[in-house]
Amino acid sequence: MADPLLRVDNLVRRFGGILATDNLSLEVPRGELHAIIGPNGAGKTTLISQLTGQLMPNSGTIHFAGRDVTGLPSYRRSRLGLARSFQITSLLKDFTALDNVALAAQAHDGHSFRFWGNARKERHLRDTARAALQRVGLGSRADVLVSELSHGEQRELELAVALATKPQLLLLDEPMAGLGVTESARMVELLKELRKEFTIVLVEHDMEAVFALADRITVLVYGRVIACDTPDAIRRHEEVKRAYLGEQHAVTRHG
């Protein structure tokens, strides 16, 4: 495969006078786990939202699986195999965990203009959903309402929902946000499993996790890419140290 799965060219997004995405280009080949890091306000979530279609860029293009998806709405991109998890957990709170995942499976199983049959009795949707829940370790929590799940479980459910859409590319926006030490460790293990199967773009603040997982890391500062390289190279990168890592001492401490 000569073509990367995801290719972003010269993306620009302004909010008033602020350049949140500044002429950004990026390539993610199939099978890669590509991490995006950067200080708060670097435009990471803005970038993810443009990749999924929740936000439209002012200029530039996004190609996914060889296709220009720049103008497509988010539901069309999801159908093409682009799945996202949200930084701030965004689930259907008054539905059960199983319902949440089954709906994701349903979205990718033909249209839903079916008004008669009981959707909760459709075996293949439920089975797909259970498998995804099992995958993230929530198998025993299937029938619990989302609002009654712990924060850590909700983060895992976010992943299960993304998995159930049969994605080619997972866009994970801070899957470890707000997790405790043991929960984080579990999430890292889970991501290690998932990366064998999926191409992943990971936005994350947890540097230890990023350097343990990533094949390549892109560093964003003020919406610009200041470096894009392997973890080792990024660790040694002078500008990165100055702009970002130095102030947090994250790498020197864990490295």
Partner: protein
């Protein structure tokens, strides 16, 4: 497994049984008044149920739902005035025009959210109200008297009080059954998912707008049927059935009975209209009592009467 029994199911079962047996009671005691009152309540329960589909399950706070009562009613009335008395023509027209109206309103209003959605649906309903007021050929402000009820030759005679009652009841039960199927179908889960979190539903691959619009049209069509029934019940249709306070009445019935509960609108319609009937015998300021009652329900029983009853469980 949770026990299926709870007080709300028991109440619904008793109410439904009572509704089915009511004409027997009415015939034996000679109490015609109660049959007339309940016919009216059943029709409003059907209208409220259709509103519940979009408001309770779909999260679409339409403040113009009474418009369909008028549209369904005027379809029957105007056709009757023009000499077309067959229900086989009148009723499909009533449903079709209601659906079309819902499609147009929905297509525009569903692009907005929150207060704007409420205001736009309200504005469209008021527009329908003023258009009807301006129809001088069909009574204008004074309304239109329907001299002959819809005819369904060889099938049913709407002028027979008992037959008409059972027709209304069948429409209500049929409507509620339809809504029950829809709510649990793929389509229904999508609509409820969008109510819960639209951004999430888009992100997992659902074009939310189309599903909401379809739901909006289904609800409008069902309410158009209620309008056709109402016009036949009163032998009359006037712009007043579309006035915004009527839409408010429907909302109150849904909230009182329990939003997003299948039989909530039926219970709400019964309680609201019976109370209105009883209180208005004592005082013309019955709304002064109804108001605080509604306030209590909204403040202390989010799920309405059905929600309250649901908390009473045996065992």
């Amino acid at each position: 497994m949770k026990s299926k029994f709870n007080a709300s199911n028991a109440v619904v079962a008793v109410v439904c049984a009572a509704l089915v047996l009511l004409p027997v009671y009415s015939a034996t005691t000679g109490n015609i008044f109660i049959l007339t009152l309940m016919t009216r309540i059943i029709i409003f329960a059907l209208a409220a149920s259709s509103l519940n589909l979009i408001m309770g399950y779909g999260g679409m706070m339409s403040f113009g739902h009474a418009a369909y009562l008028g549209i369904g009613g005027y379809a029957v009335g105007i056709l009757a005035a023009e000499g077309i008395g067959s229900g086989f023509i009148q009723w499909p027209v009533a449903l079709g025009v209601s659906a079309l109206f819902a499609l147009v309103i929905g297509a525009l209003s569903l692009r907005t959210r929150g207060v704007y959605f409420i205001m736009i649906t309200l504005a469209f309903a008021q527009m329908a109200y003023y258009v009807a007021s301006a129809l001088s050929r069909y009574g204008g402000d004074d309304g239109l008297t329907i001299y002959k009820r819809s005819t369904f030759d060889g099938l049913i005679n709407l002028s027979d009080r008992t037959q008409f009652y059972y027709l209304c009841l069948a429409c209500l039960f049929g409507g509620v059954y339809l809504i029950w199927r829809i709510v649990n179908s793929r389509f229904g889960l999508v609509v409820q998912g969008v109510r819960s979190n639209e951004q999430r539903m888009q992100a997992i691959g659902f074009p939310a707008y189309r599903y909401r619009l379809t739901c909006f049209v289904i609800a409008g069509t069902i309410c158009g049927l209620a309008g056709a029934l109402l016009a036949n019940n009163t032998d009359f249709v006037s712009p007043a059935v579309m006035y915004w306070t009527r839409s408010g009445d429907l909302m109150v019935m849904v909230i009182l009975g329990g939003m997003g509960s299948l039989f909530g609108p039926l219970i709400g319609a019964i309680v609201y209209l019976v109370l209105e009937e009883l209180l208005s015998q004592f005082t013309e300021y019955w709304a002064l009592i109804m108001g605080p009652l509604l306030l209590l329900i909204v403040l202390f029983a989010r799920g309405g009467i059905m929600g309250l009853l649901g908390r009473i469980r045996r065992g």
